[in-house]
Amino acid sequence: MSAPAAPPGAILIVDDNRVNQLLLSRGLEQQGHAIVFAGHGREALDLLRRRHFDLMLLDVLMPELDGYQVLAELKLDPHLRDIPVIMTSSLDELDSVVKCVEMGAEDYLTKPINPVLLNARITASLEKKRLRDQQRELISKFATKEVAEDLLTSGFSLGGKHIDASALFCDIRSFTTIVEAREPAETIELLNDYYTLMMDAIGGEGGIVNQMVGDGLMAIFGAPVPREDHRQRAVLAARQMVELIRLFNEEQTAQDKLQIQIGVGIASGPVVAGYTGTHHRATYTCVGDTVNVAARLESHTKVVGRPILIDEHTRCGLDDVIAVEAHGELLVKGKTQPVQVYAVHVDSLVAESL
């Protein structure tokens, strides 16, 4: 019985033996697959890094780099590790094949290759890859790219870990009043524009938006992927957010539409990050004192009339380009010591962009 044909894919055949290359490629080309050959492991890795492949047939014993070394390098590279690999080897190399499967090879075939088995394995592997790609696409629709990558590489498990990160809160001033005075469609359109701009600024600096409630959003910098400069990045994002809203307001004015103002609070320090919820419905988030302080600073922007407020920890992570000024202290519920508040200058930003 022959296997149903797989949708054509780009297949890399890695074998130092030209006769084997021909034997493997003959049937596959007839199935419509695009075939490329590599004579040894080093050449294979070079090709994999230069162009797209859906699958690789990999020999074990080769000059330059052998099958193990190729597989090991492949699995270390986040861009290549998901390419399915089918090992091809002699019957007397079965021990090596077991080792390759343990290292992450998808399947194996023994030489001389049986063309029916070859087609069946390739069809199955390409189908699995297609499902994985689909799953990845779906996850990325409902989660940020970073969370999607984290889910796909580390798997999903409830529970968290301690990390050093920056939390950012933002909302629209007097939003309730705005909602009451407008048509629902106009409110939703305004929110969509607002979220698009905010996510653009946050994503551009490597942050992730993990909560959206009404007009309020929470973003995290430095998780799930740790980054040293999360404090600087968070403040840069906040400045861009304020600047984008200023430009948005200019457009709104030109169209005789409503203007909005935002307030942003940022705090940095230890947080507990992870997936919270249940096994059926969960979200990636950060909790802890740092997050509470960021939320309080955001509320405090209304009191002091400055668009961006940050805490002392965040200020310590900024370079000289970002100007800040001390803006007194803030008592936060549950904290014995008041929080030192700093306002980030945004005027220079407007001047630069003019």
């Binding site: 130092d16 033996n17 030209r18 006769v19 084997n20 021909l22 034997l23 003959r26 014993l61 080769m62 000059p63 002699s90 007397d92 030489k111 001389p112």
Partner: protein, 93 residues
């Protein structure tokens, strides 16, 4: 495929002797491995078996009697070459 084999194999068979004489067991093992694999594709049982034996000797590094095995592979290859050449020159039905 036959043409490819016939064009590559003489150099590979010759390499068995040179790598043996140079004591390069890794290259000897790899060359014997390739010829073994090709022999299996064309159903050349004795040739493949000799190459497998040689590959195993090279892997273990025990080269006693290896010259004799290489001599037998030479003769088997000559016979195989004649057979495959005849096959290759026979027009397809």
């Amino acid at each position: 495929m036959i043409d490819t084999f016939l064009s590559d194999a003489p150099a590979l068979v010759a390499a068995l002797r040179t790598t043996y004489e140079e004591g390069d067991t890794e290259a000897l093992r790899r060359t014997a491995h390739t010829l073994k694999s090709n022999g299996q594709i064309f159903g050349a049982g004795r040739f493949s078996e000799l190459c497998r034996d040689l590959e195993e000797r090279a892997r273990r590094g025990t080269l006693d009697g290896t010259a004799d095995v290489i001599g037998r592979i030479d003769r088997e290859y000559a016979a195989l070459e004649t057979t495959l050449t005849a096959l290759g020159s026979t027009p397809a039905p």
